[in-house]
C-alpha cells in the first residue's frame, strides 16, 4: 500500500490554500471586501474634492462691497483700513459705525444694497471676539467672509503686539510652548534621578487609539471566522473525512494561517487601493502633500521606515495568530454551531481585556510614556500585540521592550497551540459542552 502521507507543512499549506480559496468565494467576504474597497477608494477622493484649494474658484477681488465695522476694544486701537492694502480687498469700502448703532445696522443691511457685511469687534473679559452679520440674499464667494475674518483677526493681533511694543524675539517667545522637567539632586549635588515630561501629543495618542481599534476589529473578524469554521467542520461531520488524511495540527494551523493570510491580504489590498485613491485625490485637490499623510500626525511620518513597517506588520500577524488560536480553542470546545455562543466568550473576553488595556494606555501616554503600567501593557501578551504597533509608529517604545514583548507573545502562542491541539483532539466528537469541562480546560 502506497503511503498517502503529506508532510505537516504540506498539510498546512493545503488546508490554508483551501481556506483562502473558499473564503474568497463566499458572498459575505466578497461583499465586505467590496464595501471596504469602496470606502478606501472613494473616501480620499471625496475628501480631495471637499478640500480642493479655494484658489480654484477664488475671485480676484472680494465680493463684499461695503464692510461696516462696530468696535468696542477699550484701550486697544486697531486700524482695519490695513485690509485695503491687500489687492483682494482694494475695492471694498469700509465704514465704522458706533456700537449703539450695530443693532439698527443689522436691520438695515437688507435695505442698503447688495453684498453688505457688518462686523462687530468686542473685547470680552478673557478674549477678543469678531462677529460678522450678513444679509440672507448676499451671494458672496463661499469663503469670502471666513477669509476676511481671519485677516481681521491677524490685524487685531498685530495691533495688540505693536501697542505692547514687543520686539520680534519677544513675539516668538510669547508663542513658544513651555516644557517642564523635574530633577532630583542628591546632597553632594549629583543628579539622582531625572524625571521629565515624556507624554506624547494628543494627536499621536488619538492615532494609536484609532490604530488599536482597527486591529481590534480585524482580530474580532478573523477570530470569529476561525471559531465558526472549526465548529462547522465538526458540526458537518467533515472532520471525520479530514482526519483520515490529515493530522489535527494540519487542519487547525492551516485554517488559522489561511484566515490570517486572508485578513492580511485584505488589509494590503485595501491599503493599495487607498494609496491609489490618495494619488487621485491629490490631483483633484491640487494639494502638494498626500491626502492620507495630511491626516497623520507629523511624528508618524518622521518615524516611518521599512523596519518600523515590517515590525508593525509582524505584530499584527502575532496578534492574529495569538487570538486566532484562542478563537480556535473556543471553537474546539463546541461541537455544534449553537454551542459556540457558550465557548466563544473565552476569546471575546481575552480580546477585550487586551484591547481595552491598550486603548487605556494610548490615552494615558499623553501623560507619560515611562510608567510601570505602560511597561506592563507592552509586555503582557494579550495587550502588547495591540499596543506595540501604534507605539512603534510614534517612536515611543524601545527595541529591547519590543524584543521582550515578542518573546512573551511567542511563548504564549506556543502554550496556546499545545493546549488548543490537545483540546481539539479531545473534543473531536464531543456532543455537548459542559461548563465544568470548560472550567477544567481553562485551568489546563
Amino acid at each position: 500500500m502506497k503511503s498517502c502521507k503529506n508532510s505537516v507543512l504540506k498539510e498546512i499549506f493545503l488546508v490554508c490554500k483551501f481556506t483562502v480559496k473558499q473564503s474568497c468565494k463566499t458572498k459575505s467576504f466578497q461583499i465586505s471586501f467590496a464595501i471596504l474597497a469602496c470606502l478606501a477608494f472613494f473616501g480620499p477622493i471625496i475628501m480631495g474634492i471637499i478640500q480642493a484649494k479655494p484658489e480654484d474658484n477664488m475671485p480676484n477681488n472680494t465680493e463684499i462691497s461695503t464692510l461696516y465695522i462696530g468696535m468696542d476694544l477699550g484701550e486697544v486701537k486697531v486700524d482695519f483700513e490695513k485690509l485695503l492694502e491687500d489687492d483682494f480687498y482694494s475695492k471694498m469700502k469700509i465704514e465704522y459705525i458706533e456700537m449703539k448703532d450695530v443693532e439698527e445696522g443689522k436691520k438695515d443691511l437688507e435695505k442698503e444694497g447688495k453684498n453688505q457685511l457688518l462686523v462687530e469687534v468686542n473685547h470680552m473679559e478673557s478674549n477678543f471676539q469678531i462677529k460678522a452679520w450678513e444679509p440672507v440674499k448676499n451671494s458672496f464667494w463661499e469663503r469670502d467672509v471666513e477669509t476676511l475674518l481671519e485677516r481681521m483677526s491677524a490685524i487685531l493681533t498685530e495691533s495688540i503686539q505693536l501697542q505692547c511694543a514687543l520686539t520680534d524675539s519677544q513675539k516668538l517667545a510669547l508663542n513658544t510652548q513651555v516644557n517642564t522637567e523635574v530633577h532630583k539632586v542628591q546632597e553632594n549635588g549629583e543628579i539622582k534621578n531625572l524625571s521629565k515630561k515624556t507624554g506624547i501629543a494628543e494627536s499621536d495618542s488619538m492615532f494609536i487609539y484609532g490604530f488599536i481599534m482597527v486591529i481590534l476589529m480585524i482580530g474580532a473578524f478573523a477570530g470569529s471566522s476561525i471559531a465558526s469554521s472549526v465548529v462547522s467542520e465538526k458540526n458537518g461531520k467533515i472532520l471525520e473525512y479530514l482526519l483520515t488524511s490529515i493530522s489535527p495540527i494540519g487542519i487547525l494551523a492551516g485554517k488559522i494561517i489561511g484566515c490570517i493570510l486572508l485578513t492580511v491580504g485584505e488589509i494590503l489590498c485595501i491599503g493599495a487601493i487607498a494609496v491609489v485613491a490618495d494619488g487621485i485625490a491629490k490631483n483633484i485637490s491640487n494639494q502638494e502633500g498626500s491626502m492620507i499623510g495630511s491626516m497623520l500626525p507629523d511624528t508618524i511620518i518622521s518615524n516611518l521606515s521599512l523596519g518600523t513597517v515590517v515590525l508593525v506588520l509582524f505584530f499584527i500577524v502575532l496578534n492574529l495568530t495569538l487570538y486566532g488560536f484562542l478563537a480556535a480553542y473556543a471553537g474546539s470546545l463546541a461541537s455544534k454551531v449553537e454551542e459556540l455562543k457558550d465557548t466563544v466568550g473565552i476569546f471575546s473576553i481575552a480580546e477585550l481585556v487586551g484591547g481595552y488595556l491598550a486603548l487605556f494606555s494610548a490615552m494615558y501616554m499623553t501623560e507619560g510614556t515611562t510608567s510601570l503600567f505602560l511597561k506592563f501593557v507592552y509586555l503582557f501578551p494579550l495587550s502588547s500585540v495591540f499596543m506595540i504597533p501604534g507605539a512603534l509608529l510614534v517612536g515611543k517604545v524601545n527595541f529591547f521592550m519590543v524584543f521582550l514583548a515578542i518573546v512573551f507573545v511567542m511563548i504564549s502562542i506556543i502554550v496556546l497551540v499545545i493546549v488548543t491541539i490537545k483540546t481539539y483532539k479531545t473534543h473531536l466528537f464531543s456532543s455537548s459542552v459542559k461548563k465544568k469541562r470548560l472550567i477544567k480546560f481553562s485551568r489546563q
Binding site: M1, T244, K425
Partner: protein, 310 residues
Amino acid sequence: MSLEVKNLTKKYGEKTVVNNLSFSIKEPGVYALLGTNGAGKTTTIRMILGMVEKDEGEVLWQGKTLNSVESNVGYLAEERGLYPKVDLMDQLLYFAKLKNVPKSTAKEKIQYWAKRLEVEEYLYAKKKGKTYSYKADQLSKGNQQKIQLMSALISEPRLLILDEPLSGLDPVNTDLFKGIIREEIKKDKFLIMSSHQMATIEEFCSDITIMNRGNAVLQGNLNDIKKSYGRVNLYIKSDNDIENDIQKMGLMVKNHTPDGYHIKVQGQEQAMEFLKVLMEKQTPIVKFELREPSLHEIFVEKVGDTNEEL
C-alpha cells in the same frame, strides 16, 4: 497482508463503550461489524482509524501500527459530511490532494467515478458553455452519499471502511453501491463494513463480529457460525391443514404465514421424521425446506430484539 485488531478498549468516564475487542482480517474480503445502536461499532471504527484515542489495545496493518493518515485508508462515515457551500469538484480535488493523489490522476478518477455513480450531471454541469459543479447542499442525500463514496475511493485504498454504506439509499442506488462493493472485493481489497441490514451482510461478508454494549458477543466465519447452529429451521407448506400433525410431533411453530409454517426443529433427523409422518398420511407438500438460521435470527438471539430497525 492483514488487519489485526487487538484488545481494543475505550471508556468514557465510568462507561465502557468498547471492551477488549479483538478480531483479524487475514484475507481480502468484507468483515462485518454488527450491533444495535450504541453497541460501539462507530467508536471501534474511529479507534481503528486513530480518530479516537484507545484506552487499551492496538490496531496492526501489515504488522505495523495502523495510522490512517500515513496509510491509504478509505472511509465512508455513518454521518455524511460535505462542505455544504463548496463546489463538489473543489471538495473532491481537495480530499484527493490531502490523500496525496496528483491533480491529474484525481481528475481522471473523478471522471471515472462520476460516470460509474451516475453523478456526472452534478459535477460537470453546463451553463452558457461553461462547465461548473453543484454545491453539496444542492444535492439529495443519496447523491451526497455518492460523492462521499467517491472521496473514499479516489485514492484507491487497499483498506476500506464503510460505516452504514447503504442507509438512506433507494433500491436503485442500493444496487449501484452493492455493485461497487463487489468490484472492490474483486480487486482484493480489505473492507470493514458496519450495517444494520442483515441481508447485505450475508450477501458480502465472510467474517463477522456481533457487538452488544461494547462487547463482542459472537465472532467468526459466518458460514461456520451458521453451521454450528445446524439446520434447525424448517419451512413447510401444505395444501392440507398440518397443525395437528405439528402439535402431535411436539414441534415449536415460530411463525405461520400464507407462505407456510416456520418450525423450529432440533435437527435434520426430527425434520425427516416429521416429513415421513406427512408422507405416510399422503399429505400434499408444496414446500419443504430445512435451513440454517439466518443472520437476522442469530443476531436477535444474541443481542435481543431491542432495535426496531432490525
